[in-house]
Amino acid sequence: MHDPLLTVEDLQTHFFTEDGVVRAVDGISFDVAPGEIVGLVGESGAGKSVAVRSILRLVEDPGRIVGGEVRFRDQTLVGFEDDATAADTAGDDRSDDPGDEPGSQPGRPVPRPEMLSESAMRQRIRGNEIAIIFQDPMESLNPVYTVGGQLREFIELNRDLSGRAAREAAVEMLREVNIPDAERRYEDHPHEFSGGMRQRVLIAMALACEPSLIIADEPTTALDVTVEGAILDLVRDLQERYGTSFVWVTHDMGVVAEICDRVNVMYLGEIVEQAGVDELFHDTKHPYTQALLNSIPRPDETVEQLDPIAGVMPEAIDPPAGCRFHTRCPDAREVCTRRNPPCRTVVADGRPHRAACLKHESAFPEADYWASRPIGNLERPAPDARGDGDE
């Protein structure tokens, strides 16, 4: 097995709000091999955006990375000392910083010496090694500058080019993402572009510095289906030519099927299943993944035949005890309300297929799932269920 390009280990990002601690990302681990498109899929609110922002350390107040590790090649983007926190390290200059909101905050974790500084992140990682594309192409470009100008600024910032050379590189990138009439479109402002064209511009911007990894946070969610298809085709084509790795965030299993090599399914801040795309679709191991798959519309089905997941995802500020999915899981048993299964290998050949579900006795023998009493979520819809679609 090759060395991964990106490794995320037990990453935790919490938001310290007035109402309490929101555990938006609560201990996720995955990696990305060179040239691979890795999906991060889950419902809205699962923590996908927070997770990918954490990789680049872009989380803003009141959010904070509180633990775990992110390594990129041999560089540590996120890494903390094991259990020491600033609060109990006497004399640490952070602890006498009175700027924090009063009360309720645990001590900050202490960064390890090899963790990159903020300026190193800015100069070497963000935009150069790892680029990110955000969801809303309508709002990711600054309305006051021309599209070409923004692309050029980005190239000047991250590559050793300026003036005409940078301009030419920018036009070249616009051509590369199949924007017709690139030379002329260079001078247009963002509002003169359609959503799909803007998303192409953003992809051009992400690719401009030939990063090894592009993080795409639901880049096609705001687009309509045909435009989405064209963008996915473009990305696949570019991926083949540039060999760039992708972390592809989406809530749409259809997109996953089309573009990803491997998939991480996220639910309420945790990864519940991790597998190659074929294994995930044909040998689904987690009931939540199954529910997501059941909700993909197929051409031969009408909307009524869809099988949406019962209930709504609970709030990350107050996740259910035990398995976080047990309030909506059709297979939930009594033991699920007590134990929160970590993600463990359930099929070992090749790259491991992992799942966080007690059903898999071989991986979770201690839980004794099959001896436990079913709690019958199917007959008794969750109290706050919105989608009672199948009656």
């Binding site: 809205s44 963000r126 990711s140 600054n142 006051v144 519309p297 909307v303 949406p308 989608g387 679609g389």
Partner: protein, 359 residues
């Protein structure tokens, strides 16, 4: 669609089954075109100029502002730039000196011409000193100088003061407000406390005491900077509230994610997108600054005689009201028209740039 145009309502019709559960909160109710028009409404300069032309009061304001500024610019070249250049042999050799232009066309605005009657009325009128003539269409002042010429040269003081004060206020306010708003937290607390303190002191009191402290009774440069500094708080507050929303924009986050440094983000992304209300307010403040400095001249602060300024003309003419009331009326009118011009223009600009602010 119930509410036409800009308000979005996330109705998701057809894919409700899936949408309820899986679709993230995005505004599907809005068509691409509506969103584009909305953006265009806020950022198109052509649109702005079109709106201005359609608004007659704003257009009148624009004409006044343009004319007065043009006259002032010529006067500035003749009075200030030529004076400066005359120090260099090359230019002096070419005959460049202060008021060279005025002298070439007519006569120096500061010289006291022998033999011209003082306090003449405008052409066509008559008073105890004589009959108004076409040679002095608006009449003459207490030293027999032509009032029209003095008005023309006084305009450069007014415009210079107005622009410098407004620009100082805008620059200072923009930097303070943008930094304060972008960083938030303690930086914001400190800067805003300072700003509020300045803001709580009555305007004229603050100006007068600063001018007095700086010993700048007759130093126009210091006076206009002081007026500008006193404007800083209001500009700072204006832009800060805007920055609070702009810093949350996706393109700001995208810039951070691309490795752009914070100062560059403030300069390139935050300020350009927050500056509109500052420009509008700045236009209005040019007028107020002119009025303030005219008021200060009335109190004896301002340019040295014999440099012509509207405020000084007004102040001196008090003593000659009975003999020639026109000596007072003309500079008063000049100030009035200019200030009203800037106000109309600024109001029109505001309406054109942001139709939602119209009241």
């Amino acid at each position: 669609m119930t509410v036409a145009g800009h308000t979005s309502d996330p109705e998701s019709g057809a894919d409700a089954g899936r949408g309820d559960v899986l679709a993230p909160g995005r505004d599907e109710g809005r068509t691409e075109r509506e969103r584009r028009e909305d953006v265009e409404a806020r950022y198109g300069w052509r649109y702005t100029l079109g709106q201005l032309r359609r608004d007659p009061t704003a257009a009148a304001g624009l004409v006044v502002v343009g004319l007065v500024t043009l006259v002032a610019a010529v006067a500035w070249v003749d009075a200030v730039l030529f004076d400066f250049l005359a120090e260099f042999g090359v230019f002096a050799g070419l005959g460049v000196e202060q008021y060279a232009l005025a002298k070439a066309v007519w006569t120096s605005p500061v010289a006291e011409p022998a033999g011209t009657p003082r306090l003449l009325p405008p052409v066509g009128l008559e008073n105890q000193f004589g009959e108004g003539t076409l040679a002095h269409p608006l009449g003459t002042d207490h030293r027999g100088r032509d009032i029209l010429l003095r008005l023309v040269y006084g305009s450069r003081v007014a415009i210079q003061v107005g622009f410098v004060a407004a620009v100082v206020g805008m620059l200072g306010g923009t930097v303070v407000g943008a930094v304060s708003g972008y960083y938030g937290g303690r930086v914001d607390d400190v800067l805003m406390r300072f700003v509020e303190t300045l803001y709580s002191i009555p305007f004229l009191v603050l100006v007068l005491s600063l001018v007095a402290v700086l010993g700048a009774r007759e130093n126009l440069t210091i006076i206009m900077f002081v007026v500008g500094v006193v404007y800083v708080p209001e500009f700072a507050r204006l832009i800060r509230s805007r920055v609070f929303s702009v810093r949350e924009e996706v393109y700001v986050e995208a810039a951070r994610a691309a490795g752009v440094s914070t100062p560059a983000i403030i300069r390139r992304h935050v300020i350009p997108n927050s500056i509109t209300p500052v420009l509008v307010q700045g236009t209005l403040r040019v007028g107020t600054a002119i009025l303030t400095v005219a008021g200060l001249s009335f109190l004896g602060f301002g340019v040295n005689p014999p440099t012509p300024s509207w405020g000084r003309m007004l102040s001196i003419s008090r003593d000659y009201m009975i003999q020639n009331v026109w000596f007072s009326i003309w500079p008063g009118l000049a100030i009035l028209i200019t200030v009203v011009g800037f106000n109309l223009f600024g109001d029109g600009l505001r309406d054109a740039l942001d139709p939602r602010l119209k009241n």
